[in-house]
């Protein structure tokens, strides 16, 4: 199980390098803010902490704050990226 997780981890890191290496510089900001939104995936851990009644009230408190923080990251990140990319499309000369 743990071996498999590491395997997945290493492959994902390489995939990440491959995906980003050739991005044109004009897309650096949206890319960064888009991947920033993905890092909000930690919402999964936050939901489990806030939603499962293990470990008492304090866990729920921590989980709830974590859900709020992760949601700011996720919702804000995706919306702001979309807002930027929408501008990239509004070209009088049309898309490339």
């Amino acid at each position: 199980m743990l071996g498999l997780l590491f395997f997945v981890f290493v492959l994902a890191v390489f995939l990440g390098f491959e995906l980003i290496a050739k991005v044109p510089s004009q897309l650096h900001t949206p890319l960064m803010s888009g991947s920033n939104a993905i890092s909000g995936i930690t919402i999964v851990g936050a939901l489990v902490a806030a939603g499962q009644p293990h470990g008492g009230d304090f866990v729920t408190v921590l989980g709830t704050i974590a859900v709020a923080a992760a949601m700011i990251n996720v919702v804000g990140g995706y919306l702001v990226t979309d807002r930027m990319l929408a501008m990239f499309k509004h070209k009088d000369g049309g898309a490339k």
């Binding site: 994902a12 949206p30 890319l31 936050a46 939603g51 989980g63 974590a66």
Partner: protein
């Protein structure tokens, strides 16, 4: 019903991961980027739904947190000005780090109150969880999450200019950082030996506090011009924190998504460092710009100012013009008038390009976003590598609030701190007009010999006002 769904949940995480990969891939090209972002958002929604389908979830507090967080995220993402984008990205990133930090804290509390046996079953019902492994993951997550959080907050404060953007150095800074790192390493080892002992909980708290301190002390000394590097690095950290959180709760979705972000952040960081010809270590530890008393040889020569009217005559006769924007354009909010001037120049028969240095501004691609906001077609946005070989044929290069990225000392003066940095060679254009508020040095605090060159003219004043004046000259034609 819910019980039957349990085996499906892992598959949903896999689908979500695939959507993240496809989404990022689509964000490689301008035409597909917006859809790519949507694809990745769908992946996130799936991951959230899958988690809500887990057995025994209660939604009261989840709803509270989700509503509050979504509202804050949505409102601020619509309210933010495009010029304030770097600090916005920074602060969102910080909240991701905060969430990871809190998740590791919550997991530790669960573990301590339930005992390992029961806690391990919540991680993996198959009974494959390892206590040592979980402890290491918890310790790493709290540190990386804390560094991401406080580091991003400091970056935010600097970018929003609530605290000075200048590098703040104090004596023995590197010693303090070294001590912090030692404490972290020792703390992690101690914690992992027996994570349920009362002392271990105290050590966990120390790790959190020290992590927060490390985020502050490592970003505080970094100057504004180096912010693109810091922002991409912090982005990478938040991905790493999500990955290690995934190792705590043994969740593939978290591990894949986090690693993608971590890797992409590191690549961006490298690109930024290359664009400044500096190593990452140099950016992080040198407090660049704070030691500028002796930066480079003193520059001799005369500064030649010109009026907006004179600048108009120069531009009217030009058949090729290159704009070189920098952070000053963002500060002056001048992107719209710049585009207007660009269009007037085109109408006048000139070929107009906008040359953007990779580290111009305060985050990677900052200038591209601003000019896109002003409806500059992205075909006109070019990179230094496209312009430099033909810069000799350019009639006028207009530098708007950029300084270090056009400083010829990077080419000419081996003693300059900028030596070796790839720059835009505007000094080799036939005429170079520099828009500048005053004769102050750039963020790096380095003298710029460009201002004293034979073919350089300075147009002093607020960039927006100066450009507007040029625009009205053209319109009065």
């Amino acid at each position: 019903m819910l019980e039957k769904l349990q085996p499906l949940i892992n598959y949903i995480y896999i689908i979500a991961s695939v959507l993240f990969v496809i989404g990022l891939k689509m964000m490689n090209r301008a035409v597909t980027a917006r859809k790519g972002n949507l694809v990745s958002a769908v992946g996130m929604a799936l991951a959230i739904i899958a988690t809500c389908l887990l057995m025994g979830m209660e939604f009261r507090w989840i709803l509270v947190g989700a509503v509050v967080g979504s509202a804050i995220g949505a409102v601020s993402s619509y309210a933010v000005k495009m010029t304030a984008m770097p600090e916005m990205v920074g602060i969102f990133n910080g909240f991701g780090g905060l969430a990871s930090m809190l998740v590791s804290w919550a997991e530790l509390v669960k573990w301590r109150s339930m005992g390992w046996e029961a806690y391990a079953r919540t991680l993996d019902p198959g009974g494959n969880a390892s206590a040592v492994f979980a402890a290491v993951a918890i310790a790493f997550t709290v540190v990386v999450g804390a560094v991401t959080f406080s580091g991003s907050m400091v970056a935010f404060l600097k970018l929003a200019e609530w605290i000075p953007g200048k590098p703040l150095l104090f004596k023995g800074q590197n010693i303090v950082n070294g001590l912090i790192v030692l404490t972290v390493v020792g703390g992690i080892i101690y914690f992992c030996l027996d994570p349920v002992s009362p002392a271990a909980y105290a050590v966990f708290m120390v790790l959190m506090v020290v992590g927060l301190a490390l985020g502050i002390t490592s970003v505080i000394p970094i100057g504004g011009a180096d912010m693109p590097v810091v922002i991409s690095l912090l982005n990478s950290y938040s991905g790493i924190a999500a990955t290690t959180a995934g190792f705590i709760i043994l969740n593939n979705g978290l591990i894949v998504a986090g690693s993608l972000v971590g890797a992409s952040g590191i690549i961006l960081t490298q690109i930024m460092c290359k664009a400044m010809n500096r190593s990452l270590a140099n950016v992080l530890f040198s407090g660049f710009g704070a030691v500028t008393e002796s930066s480079g040889t003193a520059v001799k020569g005369e500064v030649k100012a010109l009026s907006a009217e004179d600048a108009f005559y120069v531009l009217e006769a030009a058949s090729s013009v290159v704009f070189v924007p920098g952070y000053g354009m963002a500060v002056a909010q001048a992107q719209h008038v710049v585009r207007e001037l660009g269009q007037l120049l085109e109408k006048n028969g000139a070929e107009v390009k906008y040359c953007i240095h990779p580290v111009a501004g305060r985050m990677p691609g900052h200038m591209n976003v601003l000019l896109a906001e002003a409806n500059v077609p992205y075909e006109q946005l070019v990179e230094p590598g496209d312009v430099n070989p033909v810069i000799g044929t350019v009639d006028v290069a207009i530098v708007i609030g950029a300084n270090d990225v056009v400083n010829p000392a990077a080419r000419e003066d081996k003693t300059s701190p900028l030596w070796g940095m790839p720059i835009i060679n505007v000094d080799e254009a036939k005429t170079c007009i520099v828009l500048k508020r005053s004769m102050r040095a750039g963020f790096a605090g380095v003298e710029n010999p460009l201002f004293f060159k034979e073919n350089t003219r300075m147009l002093f004043g607020d960039a927006k006002a100066s450009i507007s004046a040029l625009v009205s000259e053209f319109k009065a034609e």
